[in-house]
């Protein structure tokens, strides 16, 4: 029997608020699923959309980006830039066929350990319901394997006969 699907979530958290919030969740012994792999960056404004796309390209099932609440950014306006980028990125991801629930931008402050834990639990369940996300390499290996077995269009009328 195949093992149950455990989603892999990449969490990119800012140093000043969200990472501290995740830390608080840890030291408060708040329980939340171990599906998230946390990467600390100095500011959510450091999160290049490339990071998110690369995480998906390499087979992350979901990506969570979290920063300080609006107005609280340690660098004044990093999170406003993140917000605008995430808005565009969400449109881009939708066009690329990536379901909404796989990418999230949230604001978590240093004293919101509980909120962080519940956010992660919620996202893990949402992504679990969506199922695994296939890395680009795997998806294209499959497509390349179909080279030679090209799309045969649905049989149409006309001509004298297909055999």
């Amino acid at each position: 029997m195949m093992a149950a699907f455990e989603p892999k979530i990449v969490g990119i958290l800012c140093n000043w608020c969200s990472y501290a919030g995740a830390d608080l969740a840890g030291i408060s012994r708040t329980k939340y699923p171990a599906n998230i792999r946390i990467i600390r960056v100095m500011c959510s404004g450091r999160v290049d959309p490339t990071f998110v796309l690369q995480a998906f390209a390499e087979g992350a099932d979901g990506v969570l980006v979290s920063g300080c609440h609006p107005g609280d950014c340690h660098y004044q306006e990093g999170n406003y830039k993140t917000y605008a980028r995430a808005e565009i990125l969400e449109q881009l991801l939708e066009q690329m066929g990536i379901e909404k629930g796989r990418f999230r931008l949230t604001w978590v402050s240093a004293n919101e350990g509980e909120i962080f834990a519940s956010l992660v639990s919620e996202m893990v369940e949402e992504v679990r319901a969506l199922g695994p996300f296939r890395p680009t390499r795997e998806r294209f290996a499959e497509l390349q394997a179909t080279i030679g077995r090209e799309v045969a269009p649905a049989a149409g009328a006309g001509g004298e006969g297909n055999d």
């Binding site: 490339t50 605008a84 980028r85 690329m96 090209e150 269009p153 049989a155 001509g159 055999d163």
Partner: protein, 332 residues
């Protein structure tokens, strides 16, 4: 000196790259003096069997333009690779999939249905589709098979050099031809072009990039001196390799990104997302959302030439029925 042996081929492309070769005008005579041509479907009459008859590695340089979308294009790519010492991906389609690569936002069946059934100008009550193999009384007719995705040339065969551009600018073509003719070849894998972005070579005046929203080129006549991004036009300059001579920008048109990203960038669309996201002046979420709703088609705009070589390479699942082309409506 023995003459250079050249071949040119077009695959999934518009023919503009071949015309660009002819655009070197009188210098074409230098090329003719310098080189013998063994295949050039747009300009000269050779047959594939002429190429098949050549020894392996006989052709010095093959300029292959166009992406690879069907079995014929792959077959000729493989044949020319075998017969050529140097393979050049010529033009944006061969380098990155180009405009045809945008078809990777759809599956092959969706494309065939659209083209042979759904377009407003199509009348096809018998639902005729192209067949790869068909018997008629005179014998058997065949057509190349249609791949599930559009591939850049380097996904199919080994490529030594890349000459990007839609089409490649004449001076870049001459540089490549001269490098080859004089044997001063750069290391394999080199992309002819600049190491820096279009922004870096752009002659326009740049100040602070803060905008309330974006406009499309047909909605505004831009000022000639000022940065196009600052005027609210989506210019792909920040995410695109320079070396093109900023031709579009000089003609008062924003950069469309045909040179692809620079070496240090993995994904042109992600970089454009970052650049434009950082330009919105408002801090109010509703206003930001309204400002960004003016970007009508992010995937089609940011990946206009590079979807096939982007991190995701294309849409990851079929478009749901009832979904408008491109997948989304702006502002939804």
């Amino acid at each position: 000196m023995t003459k250079l042996k050249l071949a040119f081929y077009w695959a999934a492309s518009c023919g503009g790259c071949d015309v660009a070769v002819l655009d070197i005008n009188e210098k074409i005579l230098d090329v003719a003096a310098l080189a013998d041509i063994y295949l050039w479907p747009i300009a000269m009459d050779f047959k594939y069997k002429d190429v098949q008859a050549l020894d392996d590695g006989f052709i010095d340089v093959c300029f292959y333009n166009g992406a690879v979308r069907n079995t014929e294009q792959r077959e000729i790519a493989e044949l020319l690779r075998q017969k050529s010492k140097v393979m050049v991906a010529f033009g944006s389609c061969a380098c990155f999939g180009g405009i045809p690569g945008l078809a990777n936002l759809y599956g092959p069946q969706e494309i065939l249905d659209r083209v042979y059934q759904e377009t407003p100008s199509t009348v096809n009550p018998e639902r005729v589709r192209p067949e790869t193999n068909w018997k008629v009384k005179e014998g058997r007719l065949t057509l190349p098979g249609f791949f599930s995705a559009v591939y850049p040339l380097s996904d199919i065969v080994q490529v030594e050099y890349y000459v990007p551009g839609c089409p490649p600018p004449v001076d870049l073509i001459l540089r490549a031809v001269q490098a080859i003719a004089t044997g001063k070849l750069p290391p394999p894998g080199t992309v002819f072009g600049s190491d820096k972005t279009v922004c870096d070579t752009c002659p326009r005046k740049k100040e602070e990039k803060k905008v309330k929203g974006f406009k499309r080129p047909h909605e505004v006549i831009p000022e000639a001196e000022k940065c196009l991004l600052e005027q609210g036009l989506i210019c792909l300059g920040p995410a695109t390799r320079g070396g093109c001579g900023a031709r579009c920008i000089e003609a008062n048109m924003p950069c469309r990104g045909c040179f692809g990203p620079t070496d240090r960038v993995l994904d042109q669309g992600a970089k454009m997302t970052a650049a434009l996201g950082g330009m919105i002046s408002s801090r109010n979420e509703t206003e930001v959302r309204a400002a960004l709703a003016t970007i009508v088609d992010p995937a089609g705009t940011f990946y206009r030439f590079t979807l096939s070589t982007s991190l995701l390479k294309g849409r990851v699942r079929p478009v749901e029925k009832g979904c408008p082309p491109g997948g989304i409506v702006a502002g939804s």
